[in-house]
């Protein structure tokens, strides 16, 4: 066990955890940020996607030791009021069904738009292929990303 400092959604946090404890479980079980979801534990489904220093990562596969002294943004920190163009597009197109994967979908999409403000369908495929949705909302996710890009 060791103490690690990291900045989560703009707030400095210190946690005591084994070095190999995944960031996902630090966020969910130690910091109480349950918006980031567990889906597979092996970086196959994307439900746990957060931004680490601005880059999208699968938090189930990032040990806390690798997140130390870095900036973490979770779905709770994307905006304080659902005002991100993607969140608005998600609402306008009623993207979610069960909604469980959508935190990860939104974080992957937000990282995509941050580096590519008008992505093509191929860009969306490449950026979003790591995020599984079992309710089958892919078509709406694609449309919502295009819509948000149009507004951005």
């Amino acid at each position: 066990m060791a103490a690690y400092s990291l900045t989560v959604n703009g707030t400095r946090q210190t946690v005591t955890a084994p070095a190999e404890m995944p960031l996902l479980w630090v966020l969910r079980d130690l910091l109480g940020l349950t918006g980031t979801k567990y889906g597979c534990g092996i970086a196959q489904c994307g439900a746990c996607t957060v931004h680490l220093d601005g880059a999208p990562v699968r938090s189930c596969s990032v040990p806390i030791s690798a997140a130390a002294d870095k900036r973490v943004t979770t779905i709770e920190g994307l905006t304080p009021n659902r005002s991100h163009a993607l969140q608005r597009a998600w609402l306008e197109l009623d993207v979610p069904q069960c909604g469980y994967c959508q935190s990860g979908q939104l974080m992957s999409a937000a990282a995509l738009l941050a580096r590519n403000p008008s992505p093509s369908d191929q860009d969306i495929d490449a950026a979003m292929n790591g995020n599984i949705c079992r309710c089958g909302t892919y078509q709406r996710i694609r449309a919502a990303i295009h819509r948000a890009a149009g507004e951005a």
Binding site: D29, G35, E76, Q97, G99, C101, R134
Partner: protein, 722 residues
């Protein structure tokens, strides 16, 4: 529940129970709670489901579980329509598993259809009582008053009172037994696209699923079972697990069985739970157990396939018998024969199985993302030996259900562990545990034969279905795999073949395997429709007929089928030329919810193999309460079915499931998503459920499209192995 119900009958019975709750329970309820409250003058509650408070707040007690299908929007819309308020003004409160709400389960695409009349009636009762209260207050005839946007208005005098101001007077009025329901032509909410009410918390991380339940003093647990079905663990290393930082306890769970509700028998396989301070420590501790078992026991997929084939050679239980199929097949000018293999499938909901329980001195609370709150209640009562009033099931929203959350294994885990340690505990299943310990969509084997006469008319059809019984797995003491109820369930979608063929025979051969089976979105229709509709194209080829034309001809007496078929074909551009290497296929299915869906798939074969480029879907679901939700359910059903059709297979080796996670149980991803178009047939019929009906036609539509490209018929799923 009686022992002779099929799931469909169960669904219908459940719907009937729900349907009767107002009618049957209202008198007693009105005499007690509502009556007392009426005297207090605080609320108007004409049924257990619905209340209008003195501040005007409308509350709907939701007896259905939200798993993505939209009941938290569709059901408030029904209330809003009849009660003349805005849908967003209907506050939704999840009902606990209390008998006053009737049997609570969510499945069989029955939520909207089952609550359609009860909710309209209860809402109309409340509306009419509020109108009556206004009329009494103003001393005018009720017929001169109308409800409008949460108020009652008297147009002649221009007077208007909000509902809240009328509650005290209304609550003292007699509940009208048969209130006037609105003419659907005057609907202003239902039948129009509306944004779902439950979306905002799903885009900012604030939605609370089962896994997000947090209680003071709560710990986490992970459970290990023997990976070989039906076998015990022969040993494990508890000390090693205890040595993992954060691990608090190792709790053995004895094997046995649990009979509840006079119908269900739940297997309790021997298992061991590792309790820890957090989820990850529990998972690590579970791995550290290093469980051992007898590796030589158990079945494999090849052996099961032989068992299915051997069983097909024996007699089946008749599900439908018209004319004389055997004789007609014997005399046919052309005999078409094919067999079909369909694999076991996991549900793989995005949110892995989990449940939080708190058992302590004389009380049990269960926080369950469950499709079956009544079942969870019964299980908790049986495990804790507490009276019903001391047990409360709190149903959470869930990250997908698809039938998996009808099961009780994970609920039982959490109650047993909490009972053992006396603390609130959240049992978390890993994805690996979820994939390897599911109740799987049954594998099946189908023998199909059809006879054509000298003019290539289809004169005979025979379908033998070989599959394990889901009902018998869940109620081994109540019914046998060969019982009429089990047969009726397993033949769903096979026995009801809609084609006009004079000689028809459909029968069922039950097989017993150690593999747990369960209800998977659309259940046996997912296998039977694949076999039927893929075989139909083989018959059409043998008859040298266009598969759409032959379907039209044999559905000539089924106008709803024809309308759906024609709408899908027309929007898909059936018959228009396709580029080389591309193909088009069609399939149609009437689901037991009475919704009819036709799908046209367009496929291509490129360097990466089969690709589904486009799916055009047409549905007749009666009145579409929120057409956009119907479209979403069709999109979702198509993706769920396409994942299964392309690569979905659970296979067994040495008695255990080979697949373990999304790396080897692969599901559809963004880059493989076809363009999906949904078209809804205009209909004024009562609504028919839409959660499942999008699934069955997809696999045969794709298989039929693929066969036109390769020239080889498809007789096996998944297509990647066909």
């Amino acid at each position: 529940m009686s022992a002779d119900v099929t799931r469909r009958e169960f669904v219908k019975a459940g719907a009937a129970v729900s349907g009767l709750i107002v009618a049957l329970q209202l008198p007693a309820y009105a005499r007690t709670a509502a009556g007392a409250l009426a005297r207090a003058g605080s609320v108007l509650r004409p049924s257990a489901f619905l209340q209008v408070a003195a501040d005007g707040t409308v509350t709907l007690w939701l007896t259905k579980s939200e798993m993505g299908q939209g009941v938290r929007s569709s059901l408030p819309m029904i209330v809003a329509e009849e009660l003349e308020v805005a849908p967003a003004e209907v506050r939704v409160e999840q009902a606990s598993a209390d008998p006053k709400y009737g049997e609570q389960f969510t499945g069989g695409s029955s939520s909207v259809s089952g609550l359609w009349q009860p909710l309209r009636t209860a809402s109309a009762q409340a509306r009419d009582m509020l109108i009556g209260a206004a009329a009494r207050t103003w001393g005018v005839p009720a017929a001169e008053c109308a409800a409008e946007q949460g108020t009652v208005v008297h147009a002649a005098s221009g007077r208007r009172l909000p509902y809240g101001a009328l509650v005290a007077v209304a609550a003292a009025l007699k509940v009208p037994e048969s209130p006037r329901l609105k003419d659907p032509k005057t609907f202003r909410v239902l039948g129009r696209n509306a944004r779902r009410l439950d979306t905002p918390p799903k885009v900012d991380g604030s939605a609370r699923y089962g896994l997000d339940v947090r209680l003071p003093g709560m710990v986490f647990a992970c459970v290990a079972r023997c990976p070989v079905f039906g076998q015990p663990l022969s040993g494990y290393d508890a000390a090693r697990a205890r040595a993992v930082p954060g691990v608090l306890d190792v709790v053995p769970l004895e094997s046995g069985s649990l009979a509840v509700g006079g119908f269900w028998t739940y297997r309790l396989p021997g298992a061991v739970a590792v309790v820890a301070e957090n989820s990850w420590a529990a998972m690590r501790g579970c791995k550290a157990l290093d469980c051992r078992w007898d590796a030589t026991s158990g079945v494999d997929s090849a052996g099961l396939a032989r068992i299915f084939r051997d069983r097909a050679a024996q007699g089946g239980i008749l599900g439908r018998n018209e004319g004389d199929a055997e004789t007609a097949l014997g005399r046919a000018a052309t005999l078409v024969e094919a067999t079909y293999d369909v694999p076991f499938l996991a549900h793989a909901t995005m949110e892995p199985m989990n449940c939080t329980a708190h058992v302590r001195g004389g009380r049990c609370d269960v926080y369950a993302p469950t499709q079956f709150p009544t079942g969870a209640q019964q299980v908790a009562e049986a495990l804790t030996e507490l009276p019903p009033a001391a047990v409360e099931v709190h149903t959470t929203i869930m990250g997908g259900g698809f039938g998996r959350r009808f099961e009780m294994d994970w609920v039982i885990d959490s109650i047993r562990v909490s009972k053992a340690i006396g603390r609130p505990v959240q049992v978390v299943w890993t994805r690996e545990h979820d994939v390897q310990h599911d109740n799987y969509r049954p594998a099946s084997y189908h023998v199909l034969r059809a006879g054509l006469d000298g003019s290539n008319r289809v004169v005979a059809w025979s379908h033998r279905v070989v599959a394990p019984s889901i009902l018998a797995w869940h109620a081994p003491g109540a019914l046998a795999p060969g019982s009429p109820a089990a047969a009726s369930e397993a033949l769903d979608g096979a026995a009801e073949l809609a084609y006009g063929i004079p000689n028809l025979r459909v029968d069922y051969c039950p097989v017993n395997t150690p593999v747990p089976v369960g209800w998977w979105r659309s259940v046996y229709a997912s296998q039977n429709c694949f076999a039927n509709e893929t075989f139909f194209d083989e018959v059409a080829r043998a008859a040298r007929r266009d598969p759409l034309e032959l379907r039209r001809e044999l559905l000539a007496d089924s106008p709803r089928h024809l309308a759906v078929l024609n709408l899908a074909a027309e929007r898909a551009g059936w018959g228009s030329p396709l580029a080389a290497g591309r193909g088009r296929g069609i399939a149609i299915h009437k689901f037991f919810s009475d919704a009819i869906v036709a799908e046209v798939a367009e496929v291509s074969i490129g360097k990466d193999g089969l690709r589904v480029d486009r799916v055009v879907c047409a549905i007749d679901c009666g009145l579409a309460l929120n057409p956009d939700t119907v479209a979403a359910q069709m999109e979702g059903g198509i993706v769920y079915a396409l994942s299964a059709a392309l690569r979905g297979a659970i296979t067994l080796e040495g008695g255990r499931v080979k697949q373990s996670n999304f790396n080897d149980y692969r599901v559809l991803r963004m880059s493989e998503m076809p363009r999906v178009e949904v078209h809804i047939v205009e209909s004024a019929d009562d609504p028919h459920g839409v959660g499942e009906p999008g699934v069955p036609p997809l696999a045969p539509a794709v298989a039929n499209a693929l066969a036109t490209v390769t020239g080889r018929p498809v007789r096996k799923l998944p297509l990647a192995t066909a």
